[in-house]
């Protein structure tokens, strides 16, 4: 075992925290998005049950946020090693990658939840709002995708 200043015993701690925060915060955002738009769907479906298939879209998009976090968490977990082969720099990079995708996913999930709630309620009364709701949801989703791109780029350092 060669432990030095570059390979301390606590090096993998940062990588593990990166993997954990990637999935924790992404799932937090996805759960908020699912719950918030789910209340909107439940309230809307009482009067317009034929719109169910259209109004599930915010829930699907919130679920995709969690898959972003899952992908990065799996990547980081696959890169973890014993402290002797895992420099501290790599731990920092993995922590940064996990936090990037985690907090971007949290933000995107909040946006999807609020937009989905208002959007499906509005679509029940004015069907032409649907295209606008989809566009706003895509732009909210892209926020999480930006975090994923930064996280993958950090991971390759």
């Amino acid at each position: 075992m060669s432990r030095s200043d570059e390979n301390p015993i606590y090096g993998p701690f940062f990588g593990v925290m990166g993997a954990a925060s990637a999935i924790i915060f992404s799932s937090l955002g996805a759960a908020y998005g699912t719950a918030k738009s789910g209340t909107g769907i439940a309230a809307m479906s009482v009067m317009r049950p034929e719109l169910i298939m259209k109004s599930i879209i915010p829930v699907v998009m919130a679920g995709i946020i969690a898959i972003y976090g899952l992908v990065i968490a799996v990547l980081i977990a696959g890169g973890l090693k014993e402290p002797a082969e895992y420099p501290l720099f790599k731990g920092f990079v993995h922590l940064g990658a996990g936090l990037a995708v985690g907090f971007s996913g949290l933000a995107a999930g909040f946006a999807i939840g609020i937009v989905g709630d208002a959007g499906v309620r509005g679509t029940a009364q004015q069907p032409r709002l649907f295209v606008g709701m989809i566009l706003i949801l895509i732009f909210a989703e892209v926020l999480g995708l930006y975090g994923l791109i930064v996280a993958i780029y950090l991971y390759t350092k």
């Binding site: 049950p49 034929e50 998009m61 992908v71 990547l75 390759t156």
Partner: protein, 85 residues
């Protein structure tokens, strides 16, 4: 009101798309990693991980696009059947 058969059709469609959206990225990640990038191309661990992650995200968005397309164009095709009776 929708009939039971129409409800069942909608449920089947949504279930199929949900299973597809949940399973497609995971399977495409591991299939492309172990069979394509490490098996055929013989890449290292790091680039094969990154490229299979990219491929799984692309597959995920294709699946999402298919769902949105279906919901936008075909969601209310069953509606005219209501008044045939």
């Amino acid at each position: 009101m929708e009939t039971n058969a129409q409800q069942f059709t909608t449920f089947k469609t949504i279930l199929a798309y949900s299973v597809f959206i949940l399973l497609a990225p995971i399977t495409s990640f591991f299939v492309s990693k172990y069979l394509f990038f490490e098996g055929i191309l013989g890449l290292n661990n790091l680039p094969s991980n990154v490229w299979s992650a990219v491929i799984s995200i692309v597959v995920l968005h294709i699946a999402l696009g298919m769902y949105i397309y279906r919901a936008y164009f075909e969601a209310d095709k069953g509606k005219p059947d209501e008044k045939i009776d």
